[in-house]
């Protein structure tokens, strides 16, 4: 309740006035500190009246590469001359890495003079809550919008060409809407009693197993197993939650799925509810995805009209209530346990594990949590050849399936692309129009900032011996473009593979990029556990020292040596941080020092 009530108050006043928060505490019979804990944690909430204009500029990865940081500096300078009170700030990834730099302008100025005269706070601010989005625009365009120019187009995700009818994931490509929800219809038709439905449940799980559908959120767990675990878990109430928080820099494929094919996600979730016996589900979507939120909400309504969602699905006693939970913001909400905490009106701080969500999830009840894409693949897998069709989508027999990658950075056509599992990285770059401006490949971030920067070619001695053994004899280095994208293969190589791939050309200043990534982790650390809270800050300080050229070559070598403070701290963060954020936070710096000594050397003090 707290989060929803705070949204209401902020929508009405433009911020959260103290007296309203005190009133809320009384209404909900909640201590004031609980309200404060939530308000102060999420960047979306503000407790002071907003300035006339707020300008949010993305400064992560692809946007940083395209000059997001410089844009902040330039806009700040220009805003100083304005009569209006303008606040320009760099913000974490807005999920539009394909059209960098991403900017959102919030104009809180009254729309008409009468509103102003009547002091109608509601009208005054509600107008300002629709941001004006500018994607890949010039500083001049942003300046114009910042200064109130209404003629410049508001960039939407819907402006991108809709190619969803060409996606393999789309079971209903080029088909009328009435044919959707085939899997739900099939489940309900499978039998009247639970025994008959159990047969259908087994069939669906078997199809997911045959297709080898892996979790698309990054961890790559086997989906059928998770579903089976929640199904078996003891609990009167169970939940299905879809993680659509997609806040990792460089990642934006869920954005496309939520916008274009919400029916696949809704169908996947309802089917999951029927399989695991959950009667309630939440689609957790980051608040910056306004179009996507609207798209999913509209689809849920449509599904209800079709009778496949809500009370008494298709006239049976089975029910499944589904709603969108709009995230109050922050990368950490994408961490599955933190996401659950946020739905529970808590600070989005990851839980200590075990227990796992499958047994102790939302409100301590068994909960199935999957990524957007994972749910979206379900209809195609269960309805086409019992999963065999999906398995056959890969490039060769040893791989199975297909998936989406978000590709951004120095490529000509950054995009969310659907590719067969096993596609080579070089091929993926070609699919995205090849390297930008004829640059040579310098480095790749294979999992947003989490995996650090992997060089285009790297020497064999960088790998542990058991990896080297797998390579052809006589090879002296590995060309990353030759690597086949498969999560299991990557793990054998001890490489991370996420959904967001950022390509860096040889003109990239990786020291600056690494520092931006370190700052991202510091900014997004929830602050719960000591190693991540203090450790991520130390990492940024070291990065800044390097960037400011205030350390010598010897000092850098000492810092990065295996017994140096960086490696020691990195090890402590990996072994003791509660969640994955603290675990991976040192990677941008450790990989920079390990793989790009020339770039580092150019920054050292002589």
């Amino acid at each position: 309740m707290i989060v929803q009530e705070l949204y209401k108050i902020q929508n009405q006043h433009g911020y959260l006035p103290r007296v309203e928060l005190e009133g809320l505490a009384q209404r909900l019979a909640t201590p004031l500190y609980r309200i404060q804990e939530v308000v102060s944690f999420f960047p979306h909430f503000r407790i002071t009246p907003p300035p006339d204009v707020e300008v949010h500029v993305c400064i992560d990865m692809a946007c940083h590469l395209r000059g997001g940081e410089q844009m902040v500096t330039e806009l700040t300078k220009r805003a100083e001359g304005s009569e209006a009170k303008i606040e320009v700030c760099g913000v974490s990834c807005l999920g539009r890495c394909d059209r960098a730099v991403a900017v959102r302008v919030f104009d809180h100025r009254h729309t008409t003079t009468s509103d102003h005269a009547s002091g109608n706070g509601h009208a005054r601010h509600s107008a300002g809550h629709e941001p004006h989005t500018l994607l890949g625009r010039s500083v001049d365009d942003v300046t114009a919008v910042m200064n109130g120019d209404k003629t410049i187009k508001n960039d939407l995700d819907a402006d991108l060409p809709d190619i969803s009818d060409r996606w393999r994931i789309n079971l209903y490509a080029n088909k009328p809407a009435a044919e959707r929800y085939a899997a739900i219809n099939r489940f309900i038709a499978s039998g009247k009693d639970d025994a008959a439905r159990d047969v259908e449940r087994e069939r669906v799980l078997k199809a997911l197993e045959t297709g080898n559908l892996l979790g698309m959120g990054g961890a790559g767990g086997r989906t059928y197993k998770k579903w089976g675990e929640v199904r078996k878990a003891v609990g009167d109430v169970k939940y299905v939650v879809c993680n659509g928080d997609e806040s990792e820099p460089g990642t934006f494929k869920d954005r496309e799925l939520l916008l274009r094919t919400p029916y696949l996600i809704v169908e996947g979730m309802i089917l999951a509810g029927l399989i695991v016996n959950a009667e309630r589900g939440y689609v957790y979507i980051r608040h910056e995805f306004e179009e996507q939120i609207a798209s999913v909400r509209a689809e849920i309504e449509r599904a209800k009209e079709m009778g496949v969602c809500g009370d008494n699905i298709l006239g049976t006693t089975q029910s499944f209530q589904l709603e969108v939970f709009v995230s109050p913001g922050g990368y950490i909400c994408g961490e599955q346990t933190a996401l659950i905490q946020a739905i529970q009106d808590q600070r989005a701080e990851p839980r200590n594990r075990p227990p796992e969500l499958q047994t102790n999830g939302l409100w301590d009840m068994p909960t199935l949590l999957n990524n957007v894409e994972t749910f979206a693949w379900v209809p195609a897998i269960t309805e086409k050849e019992e999963g065999a069709w999906f398995a056959a989508q890969a490039t060769k027999e040893e791989f199975k399936g297909a998936r989406f990658f978000s590709v951004s950075g120095d490529v000509n056509k950054p995009a969310a692309v659907e590719v067969p599992i096993g596609i080579k990285i070089g091929e993926l770059i070609e699919r995205c129009g090849g390297m930008k401006d004829g640059q040579k490949l310098l480095a790749i971030a294979l999992s947003g900032p989490s995996g650090g920067f992997i060089p285009a070619k790297f020497p064999l001695e960088a790998f542990p011996p058991d990896i080297v053994k797998r390579l052809p004899a006589g090879a002296t280095e590995v060309d990353i473009c030759e690597l086949e994208l498969d999560i299991a293969l990557f793990r054998r190589w001890k490489l991370m593979m996420g959904a967001g791939i950022v390509i860096y050309g040889d003109k990239t200043n990786l020291v600056e990029q690494a520092l931006a990534c370190l700052k991202f982790y510091k900014r997004e650390s929830c602050g719960k556990c000591v190693p991540c809270r203090i450790g991520s800050t130390r990492m940024v300080e070291w990065g800044e020292q390097l960037q400011q050229r205030s350390v010598t070559k010897q000092e850098v070598e000492l810092l990065g040596s295996s017994s140096g403070p960086l490696q020691e701290l990195a090890m402590t963060m990996r072994s003791t941080a509660i969640c994955g954020l603290g675990t991976v936070a040192p990677n941008p710096l450790t990989t920079l020092l390990a793989f790009f000594p020339e770039q580092v050397a150019s920054y050292t003090k002589s």
């Binding site: 005190e22 201590p31 004031l32 500190y33 404060q36 804990e37 308000v39 102060s40 999420f42 961890a219 878990a233 922050g330 200590n352 594990r353 075990p354 227990p355 796992e356 499958q358 047994t359 102790n360 068994p366 995996g451 020497p459 960088a462 790998f463 542990p464 793990r491 490489l495 991370m496 510091k522 900014r523 650390s525 929830c526 602050g527 556990c529 000591v530 190693p531 809270r533 203090i534 991520s536 800050t537 130390r538 300080e541 800044e544 020292q545 040596s561 295996s562 403070p565 020691e568 990195a570 402590t572 990996r574 072994s575 941080a577 509660i578 994955g580 675990t583 450790t590 990989t591 000594p597």
Partner: protein, 827 residues
């Protein structure tokens, strides 16, 4: 630069589940609320190479470290055993006196009585399990988790192999030690000043582990040190956010222990801080300044502003032979050193060093007291007599009056030889009255020149929070309480001296079969059931109970309706019937069908202490004593008569009302006869007249028959209000049983919350205080209550409210007196 372990350590990222997220069959383990059954389930694990079998659950403890007991059979609340708990159990095996000295798991954010949060990660340990070797499945191999786990949170599972930084497995020990070292370096670098003195738990821990782990707190210091402004707005506590490590202890103390709900975390990431209400300055928040957060703070983030200023202390120091004790000196005391440094600072005025000469009196039998004496030097005689006896007619003067009147020395009558002697080996004396609020049970005099530290009740209360000193105090208290009780309990009154001694000796011996003491002391909370009607009484755990402290309700069910048939106060006993039904003396009195069954339900009405003798020992005791059997037969006949009376009469709510209103506990009720009272309010006016214009009671309250029980202090025999006052500002005074609140009350409201009858009020008082050298008027909250006109001359016979009543409608009397009066009316 091939020198990196990026690839080696990447696997930690993929470890989606902990090593023990699943059971032996690969099924995920659901975390369930622990049940009583878990007490009996055993889990075997290995800690630092030593195998130990522990129960799956351990009993929950309260903030005083007492195991929370649910009912008279000693049942407790189960909590899932964690790795930390198991390590402590192992340490206790090795060193029962001081188990924590053997514990190799350092902690910062963990406190045993608080729900664990696992945020500091300093208690991280390596967890491993045996798995079949992939190449040779006949061989078992120890496989460790990629991540370390926090011992304070992680439950124990069968087959766990735990390594701390002291493990004989050097690789694991090195790994754990290395991470603990870096964590403490991070905490130290950010939050400990470079010139830190060992004033906080964190600083002490770093100092202690420095040589073992090679900690260098200057290695990972921030480039830009934290620079939050200090918050000096609270009159009690200074807040230094720069020292705060966000261990969450203060927040949990505020919400879980005191239920004040003021402190939380505010902000996110590196700029997270503790916050009060809507991140208000502490002094402007709804904080009641109870000091609980400060006691829990392991750093110098929450520190005391200034020592408590108490009248008692000032008056004490005026007396000869009384000296101050500095916080540093307290650190040299065997008991007081267990208190946190800042607590010693804050409550310096709760300790006085007394030099005594032979014949000096420390306390007198029958007095109410709120101090205990730590014996440092000399011998002391314990006399079970009141020196004032035989001086009838002369108004007895309590120790308080003597102190406040400037310490006039009274002629001390001879008491003969002491009943027994104590010396510094006995550690402490006089603690019982502080712990149970009952009058002193003995007179104590110095036998030669010596020295004691006189400490007030709040010190004793806080001492019990330290596990080591708690164990010492508890064993002292239990042994004295038991022997004291057996010496005076009326159950043995009809025995001859020799018979009584034999019975006492028998009970104080250890049962050779069970190796357990024959009597035990059980503490109960209000509302806890001791046994239920109809329950079997013929089990080895069934007991015979003697009430030491508090009141027990005896009720029976007749045709589905519960009737209170009796209530039992101190020194009464119960539970014998069910144990002895086969005795020939009883055969005739116990109705058929009730043999070996509890004939009534017994429930604790308030905080109750019971002396319990189990079935077999009790039967043995009674078997050997004919006089005891006679006593029991008489009691039984009386009980059966009561039972019959209760069954015969129509429902009279008298006793039900009496117990539910808590009147049994009252010693000085203000009652108004509503048939005579004209509501003229003279009583209220009189109260206001003698108390600076503000009345201390309200002429309203519950009715008991035709009587109005006004909301004035009842002077409970077991006062709830005294429990937990952090500065010992409230206690029982001299002879009139009044409860007094001293001027150094900090206004935390604990006593007002404790009083179930709402007879303590909080009011605001303006006072001048020093702020940065200036005298500033500030409003402070204080507690106030009826003091039985303690300071009014001539009011010792009749308190003002009663004296002022023109209609002879107001009376002061005890609860049982009122009951008698009403019962007589009904006849």
């Amino acid at each position: 630069m091939a020198d990196n372990n990026y690839f080696d350590s990447m696997s930690a990222v993929w470890e989606e589940e902990g090593l023990f997220a699943r059971d032996m069959n690969g099924q995920l383990i659901r975390a369930e609320q622990a049940t009583r059954k878990d007490f009996d389930e055993r889990i075997t694990l290995t800690i630092d190479g030593e195998e130990i079998t522990v129960p799956k659950a351990v009993p929950q403890t309260d903030s005083q470290g007492n195991i929370i007991i649910v009912d008279g059979s000693g049942r407790t609340i189960p909590r899932r055993t964690t790795i930390y708990d198991a390590a402590l159990l192992l340490a206790r095996k090795k060193n029962p006196q001081n188990p924590r000295a053997e514990l190799n798991i350092p902690t910062v954010c963990h406190a045993e009585h608080l729900p664990p949060v696992g945020v500091c990660r300093v208690c991280s340990v390596e967890v491993a399990r045996l798995q079949a070797d992939r190449k040779d499945p006949t061989k078992m191999r120890e496989v460790a988790g990629e991540k370390l786990v926090p011992a304070c949170v992680h439950p124990v599972e069968p087959g766990m192999i735990i390594h701390t930084h002291k493990s004989p497995n050097e690789k694991a020990a090195g790994r754990v030690g290395q991470q603990v070292k870096v964590l403490l370096e991070l905490l130290g670098g950010d939050h400990l000043p470079a010139d830190t003195k060992d004033e906080s738990e964190l600083a002490q821990l770093v100092t202690k582990l420095k040589p073992t782990l090679g900690i260098d707190t200057q290695r990972l210091v921030p480039l830009r040190p934290l620079n939050y402004k200090p918050d000096f707005t609270s009159s009690l506590i200074n807040v230094d956010h720069n020292a705060c490590i966000l261990c969450d202890r203060c927040a949990r103390a505020c919400t879980v222990i005191k239920e004040n709900f003021v402190i939380g975390r505010t902000g996110k990431g590196y700029s997270t801080r503790i916050g009060f209400d809507l991140n208000d300055p502490m002094g402007e928040s709804s904080c009641v300044e109870c000091g609980e957060c400060m006691l829990h703070c392991p750093t110098t983030a929450l520190t005391f502003r200034k020592p408590i200023d108490s009248d008692w202390y000032r008056e004490q120091l005026k007396l000869p032979g009384r000296f101050e004790v500095t916080p540093e000196e307290m650190a040299n005391d065997r008991l007081l050193r267990a208190l946190p440094y800042r607590y010693r600072q804050w409550n310096q005025t709760s300790v006085v060093r007394r030099k005594v000469k032979a014949g000096d009196e420390l306390c007198i039998l029958g007095e109410h007291g709120n101090t205990a004496f730590i014996l440092r030097e000399g011998r002391f005689g314990i006399y079970l007599q009141d020196p004032r006896a035989g001086h009838q007619g002369q108004r007895a003067v309590g120790v308080w009056e003597r102190i406040f009147s400037g310490g006039t020395v009274k002629k001390i009558p001879e008491l003969g030889a002491p009943n027994f002697e104590v010396s510094p080996a006995d550690l402490i004396i006089g603690e019982m009255t502080c712990m149970n609020h009952y009058p002193r049970t003995a007179t104590i005099r110095a036998l030669n020149d010596g020295e004691v530290l006189e400490i007030r009740r709040n010190m004793l209360y806080t001492l019990q929070r330290n596990p080591e000193s708690r164990e010492v105090l508890d064993s002292v208290y239990r042994s004295r309480a038991l022997s004291n009780h057996l010496k005076r309990v009326p159950f043995f009154a009809t025995l001859s001296d020799a018979e009584r001694k034999a019975a006492q000796d028998f009970l104080t011996q250890v049962d050779p079969q069970t190796k357990q003491p024959r009597v035990k002391l059980v503490r109960l909370q209000p509302g806890q059931t001791i046994f239920r009607q109809g329950e079997s009484a013929n089990e080895s755990q069934s007991g015979f109970y003697m009430v030491r402290i508090g009141h027990v309700k005896v009720s029976q069910t007749f045709g589905g309706e519960e009737r209170v048939i009796n209530y039992l106060g101190p020194d009464k006993n119960f539970g014998e019937l069910g144990l002895l039904a086969d005795y020939e003396e009883l055969r005739d009195v116990i109705p058929a069908g009730l043999e070996n069954r509890r004939t009534a339900t017994c429930t604790a009405l308030d905080d109750v202490e019971l002396v319990v003798i189990d079935r077999d020992n009790f039967r043995q005791l009674v078997h050997e004593s004919k006089p005891l059997r006679k006593v029991i037969a008489q009691q039984t006949a009386a009980i059966m008569q009561q039972r019959q009376d209760a069954a015969m009469r129509p429902t009279t709510p008298l006793l039900e009302e009496f117990t539910s209103q808590g009147l049994y506990n009252a010693q000085r009720l203000l009652v108004l006869d509503l048939e005579s009272c004209t509501r003229c309010d003279e009583c209220v006016k009189a109260c206001a007249d003698v108390h600076d214009g503000v009345t201390r009671f309200i002429r309203d309250g519950l009715r008991f028959d035709k009587w109005l029980v006004a909301s004035a202090c009842r002077s409970c025999s077991d006062p709830y209000c005294l429990v937990g006052c952090p500065v010992d500002a409230i206690h029982r005074g001299g002879e009139r049983l009044e409860i007094k609140i001293e001027s150094h009350c900090i206004g935390c409201g604990q006593c007002a919350n404790n009083c179930p009858y709402g007879n303590i009020n909080m009011y605001s008082e303006e006072q001048k205080e020093d702020y940065g050298g200036k005298r500033v008027a500030v409003t402070r909250s204080k507690a106030t209550m009826c003091d039985l006109c303690h300071d009014v001359p001539g009011a010792e016979k009749e308190v003002s409210c009663v004296f002022a009543c023109p209609h002879h409608a107001a009376f002061r009397m005890s609860g049982p007196e009122l009951l008698k009066l009403v019962a007589n009316d009904h006849k």
